[in-house]
Symmetry: C2
């Protein structure tokens, strides 16, 4: 079965956590909104599904994944679903839930990263809230980023199975997501990260190892990987990088 | 088995979503941080578990639930766990995931509600960010609250099993959580909600029905239900209620 994946075509955004899982799994998927409109794809196809009044279980927002007749939204829910089907999470309930708990904590981290440049409203441009962004980013760099990174460093240190994975002895979607957060933070806050990485060697090692997984290595060098840019979650505004 | 529930003792906060599920289930639980310090409970007990270096799967932050030897954190993960054990969600995988997807959308809504009064930093007082809060709350009331409430109104309208529930024909933890969000919005934004409720009759009807469920009705009138206040997520600052 070919999955249909729906997300905004010009940014990594929250969709990238799903793309990484699909790529690592070697899953067959169509990145619908990046397709051509005259093939019935593109952003119009995304909006059609989002507004489809016949869906009994509609998504609130992208990303969402169509798997047969099911449409699953919310990044962490999609990963729960893919994790079970593609061995991107343990098979037992307790291990699945722990992986998911880590993903939800990463989602909280990502929300806070987004709000460094959009503290007032997603509907306004950065330039309309850059003063507030400066205040919020200063607190983020000083207190929030170290708190989150310190947490994942502790989880890695305490994983009794070792191997540098967050969960057990195998890679999971949580590892892929932590990779993405580190990559994004390096792009958005290079000066702050140069300091923070020294204190979080296990997190950095996980990032580097995930980047070298054969399928992801190929993906990251392909055109399928959208470059970081100032439309996404991770944006490089030098004035916010304290 | 008696659950041990851990959350800050003076606010409803994110913990309230778990308390409502435990109460509706009639589960045996101890609200640890509200207990007496000389019984080994209270906030010190919460901090002890949060800082317990022997936990291989540590929580990032409250709320968390101790079930036997397991410690489960993240509100939505705790509800996933309780949903399966206390029939607060469908038993099939697809129904469980749909309920969870709704919960994650409610969690996003709650994050945005929190940030109306704390747009810059959780570590600062409201008074240190009240100007920014005014801007953020204006956007929230005008665009975000209608978007979220409209979504849940649509989900209720499209539920083929009817009965006024979000999921299938029975109440789920997602219903309890939507009740809590409506109750909190009424407290925080009474003027805005007086307008918004007229456009979302199904959401209001769900709130009213959940409040009359026998166990919840008893809970809401008991001392176990902490009153809304200006330390929690839902705060009433008249200047933010546009």
């Amino acid at each position: 079965m070919r999955y249909e994946f729906y997300y905004w075509p010009s940014i990594q955004g929250r969709g990238e956590f799903v793309r990484l899982a699909l790529e690592e799994a070697g899953a067959d998927y169509l990145d619908v909104a990046r397709g051509a409109e005259n093939d019935g794809a593109g952003v119009p196809a995304l909006l059609r599904l989002l507004d489809d009044a016949s869906l009994a279980q509609p998504p609130f927002a992208p990303p969402f994944l169509k798997a047969g007749k099911r449409v699953i939204a919310q990044t962490a829910s999609i990963l729960w679903f893919l994790g079970a089907r593609h061995r991107l999470a343990p098979s037992g309930e307790a291990g699945r839930l722990w992986t998911h708990q880590l993903q939800l904590t990463l989602a909280d981290f990502v929300d806070e990263i987004h709000d460094t440049h959009h503290p007032i409203a997603g509907s306004l441009y950065y330039e309309e809230q850059s003063e507030e962004a400066r205040r919020r980013a200063a607190d983020f760099v000083k207190t929030r980023a170290p708190k989150f990174l310190g947490y994942f460093e502790r989880v890695l240190a305490r994983n009794p199975s070792g191997g540098g994975h967050l969960v057990g002895a195998r890679r999971s979607y949580a590892d892929l997501s932590l990779f993405q957060v580190v990559a994004g933070l390096r792009y958005a806050f290079p000066r702050a990260m140069a300091r923070l990485e020294k204190k979080h060697p296990r997190v950095v090692a996980l990032h580097d190892r995930v980047a070298e997984r054969p399928r992801l290595r190929a993906y990251l060098r392909s055109k399928r990987r959208i470059a970081f840019n100032e439309e996404g979650i991770f944006r490089h505004y030098p004035e916010l990088d304290g």
